[in-house]
């Protein structure tokens, strides 16, 4: 079976859980920005968490299916239309051959995910079906979808169809708030900020700018001061510069003391700006759901707290897949 794209949407890409293991040569993990929403869509469609889905950003695609199909839409709140008739998110949708699916405007957040039973079947590249557009690899021909593309659908998970979740309870769904608190672990080069600078980072309210994509998110707010110093050899002339180093995914850099940038799943793997804290892994999805204008505070936590948050995430996932009959 195939999904035929009649309108591509703004930036619709094939994504999965990502491509670990190649960061040392500059290929980022990639994968669905909002991993939880993608996983929920897969659970509803009767897939495993590993199947590839379509990530839709702001404006979704219009497509038809050439056979009967089962799909699910999870993530940012949006009107789902099948042949022009409104249908529900967070539930399993049965399509018949020739049905056309389209979407309204999102009402909050940034991204929603379309899972198709069997998973989107594009070639595996370095262990993943995720699109890495900058490197023109993975996904569908290494790029965002275009009108006229035909996507194959796989057969994975079809035998588990009967036991999959029909509906995701509201208590399991992520929220898409206009004000969020993001937990971060201070570290890396935080000693290069002045005490006042560090206080500013953790006490200010930061507003997400429109410069927010799969690579990173830039925030507007007050200036953050760096300690003056004689720069080490090769580090560049600004106090926010370091000798080019590897960038942790989720790390926060503040070039020139202005407009912090948080790197996300398609991060550049390294560069010459000092990082001063890192968003904990459990809150990366929260960032991915932030729309421009979101008022954001960064609150410092310890490694122990970050690990406890991971454990909570595991409990949530066992409830999801528990309700899917696993």
């Amino acid at each position: 079976m195939a999904i035929r794209i009649t309108e591509p949407g703004l930036a619709t890409t094939v994504q999965d859980t990502g491509r670990p293991g190649y960061y040392h040569v500059g290929i980022p993990q990639g994968g669905s920005m909002d991993q939880l929403s993608a996983e929920l869509a897969n659970a509803l469609a009767g897939n495993t968490p590993a199947e590839a889905v379509l990530e839709c950003t702001y404006i979704g695609p219009r497509f038809t299916t050439d056979t009967d199909a089962v799909i699910a839409v999870a993530g940012a709140p949006v009107d789902v239309l099948v042949n022009g008739t409104p249908r529900e998110q967070w539930t399993r949708l049965k399509l018949v051959a020739g049905d056309e699916v389209s979407f309204g405007m999102i009402r909050a957040g940034t991204r929603y995910y379309i899972a198709v039973q069997g998973g989107i079947d594009v070639p595996m590249v370095l262990g993943s079906r995720s699109t890495y557009a900058l490197g023109a690899m993975g996904g569908f021909e290494g790029r965002a979808l275009k009108a006229g593309d035909a996507l194959d659908v796989g057969t994975a998970g079809l035998e588990r169809h009967a036991s999959a979740a029909d509906f995701i309870d509201e208590s399991l769904r992520p929220s898409f708030a206009k004000e969020i608190t993001v937990r971060v672990m201070p570290g890396l080069y935080d000693h290069r900020l002045t005490e006042e600078g560090l206080n500013t980072l953790f006490s200010a309210t930061w507003k997400l700018t429109p410069v927010a994509d799969r690579t990173g998110l830039r925030y507007a707010g007050p200036s953050v001061s760096w300690k003056p110093r004689v720069q080490p050899f090769g580090a560049g002339s600004d106090p926010s510069n370091i000798v080019d180093a590897g960038y942790a995914i989720g790390s926060i850099q503040i070039p020139g003391g202005k407009e912090p940038i948080v790197l996300h799943r398609d991060a550049v793997s390294g560069g010459g700006y000092a990082m001063v804290a890192t968003v904990i892994s459990s809150d990366m999805d929260l960032l991915a759901r932030s729309a421009p204008g979101t008022q954001t505070t960064f609150t410092p936590v310890t490694m122990e707290e970050a690990l406890a948050a991971r454990d909570e995430g595991k409990t949530l996932r066992s409830r999801i897949w528990g309700s899917a009959g696993q």
């Binding site: 670990p20 293991g21 190649y22 960061y23 040392h24 040569v25 500059g26 290929i27 590249v125 890495y132 900058l134 490197g135 023109a136 690899m137 290494g142 971060v184 672990m185 570290g187 890396l188 080490p232 050899f233 090769g234 580090a235 560049g236 002339s237 510069n241 370091i242 000798v243 080019d244 180093a245 590897g246 960038y247 942790a248 995914i249 989720g250 790390s251 550049v268 793997s269 390294g270 560069g271 010459g272 990082m275 890192t278 968003v279 904990i280 892994s281 459990s282 490694m303 970050a306 690990l307 991971r310 595991k314």
Partner: protein, 300 residues
């Protein structure tokens, strides 16, 4: 003479959230710091520690990604500190690597045109990036800068930023390093295969995109080949590895076009030869040693 010293203080360990350990070998760039970063990465890789997903050696640091569900942070730190101690005990500072000839069309029209489009925010709006680089290094002319750029070889000190982009550090004493500031504000466009320079590092942009390094020329053949069309990419889509030694070869337009034809018909291969890089000799006698390394390309 700190740049020629082999001795380095103990590294600094710090966490990048719950999935990354960052090890700063030294604040400043040096061959010794880069050698230690790569030696630690290699030693850690050979231990195959369960729970480590990525080992990323950088210019003077090391970034390690791990899954704390499989490997507690304290156990990872202990393993890496063990590797650091092991590397400190190494009596031989040699690296089995290769020297590669990279043809470059310096002062080419593609990077010149791109540079002209982003001139208004440049440190030196008149002239081009090569004029600026020559001036910054107190050299008489862009031609002299170009000579300095290709006369001595470069060590690939890090691969990253984007897929397959090599950062390179010239194997010369610190007082002879070419240093050029980055663009004041990054460009939104850089031609693929641009030979760039920022701080003391050269790079080759593997793909078209944003960039902040000054632009001096364009490499004639690909360094990232996701379709793995050329035979140099049979094993992997990315050509460069940390530790590779690069000798730039200036080519004129005719030779650039001829290489492009070889790339188009799939027959291009890089000239390269295996070599053992000896850090102590490189630090003690750089001029003679560089001569010796690059002669391997001629089968000597």
């Amino acid at each position: 003479m700190s740049d020629t010293a082999l001795h380095l203080d103990a590294a600094r360990y710090t966490w990048g959230g719950d999935e990354f350990l960052f090890v700063e070998i030294a604040e400043g760039m040096s061959l010794a710091a880069n050698f230690k970063a790569n030696a630690m990465a290699a030693a850690l890789g050979s231990r195959t520690v369960q729970g480590i997903t990525d080992i990323c050696p950088a210019n003077a640091s090391l970034l390690i990604r791990f899954n704390p569900d499989d490997l507690p942070p304290s156990a990872l730190e202990e393993a890496v500190r063990g590797v650091e101690a092991e590397v400190a005990q190494m009596s031989q500072h040699t690296l089995q690597t290769r020297v590669i000839e990279v043809p470059v069309w310096y002062d080419d029209p593609y990077t010149r045109e791109t540079g002209a489009r982003f001139r208004s925010g440049h440190q030196r709006p008149e002239g081009n990036d090569l004029d600026f680089a020559a001036e910054e290094n107190h050299l008489a002319s862009p031609a002299e800068f170009i000579s300095r750029h290709h006369e001595s070889p470069w060590l690939v000190s890090m691969v990253g930023f984007v897929a397959g982009l090599p950062f390179m550090f010239q194997i010369v004493p610190q007082d002879q390093q070419l240093e050029v500031p980055k663009y004041l504000s990054p460009r939104t466009d850089t031609p693929a295969l641009t030979v760039g320079h920022g701080g003391c590092f050269a790079c080759i942009y593997s793909v078209r995109g944003a960039g902040g390094y000054q632009m001096f020329g364009i490499a004639a053949a690909p360094i990232f080949d996701p379709a793995q069309r050329l035979s140099d990419f049979d094993d992997f889509m990315i050509f460069f590895k940390p530790g590779d030694i690069v000798k730039f070869k200036p080519v004129d337009e005719d030779e650039y076009r001829r290489i492009q034809e070889l790339v188009a018909d799939g027959s291009f291969t890089y000239r390269q030869a295996p070599v053992v890089f000896d850090l102590e000799r490189a630090l003690a006698h750089p001029t003679e040693y560089n001569q010796e390394i690059t002669e391997h390309l001629n089968g000597h």
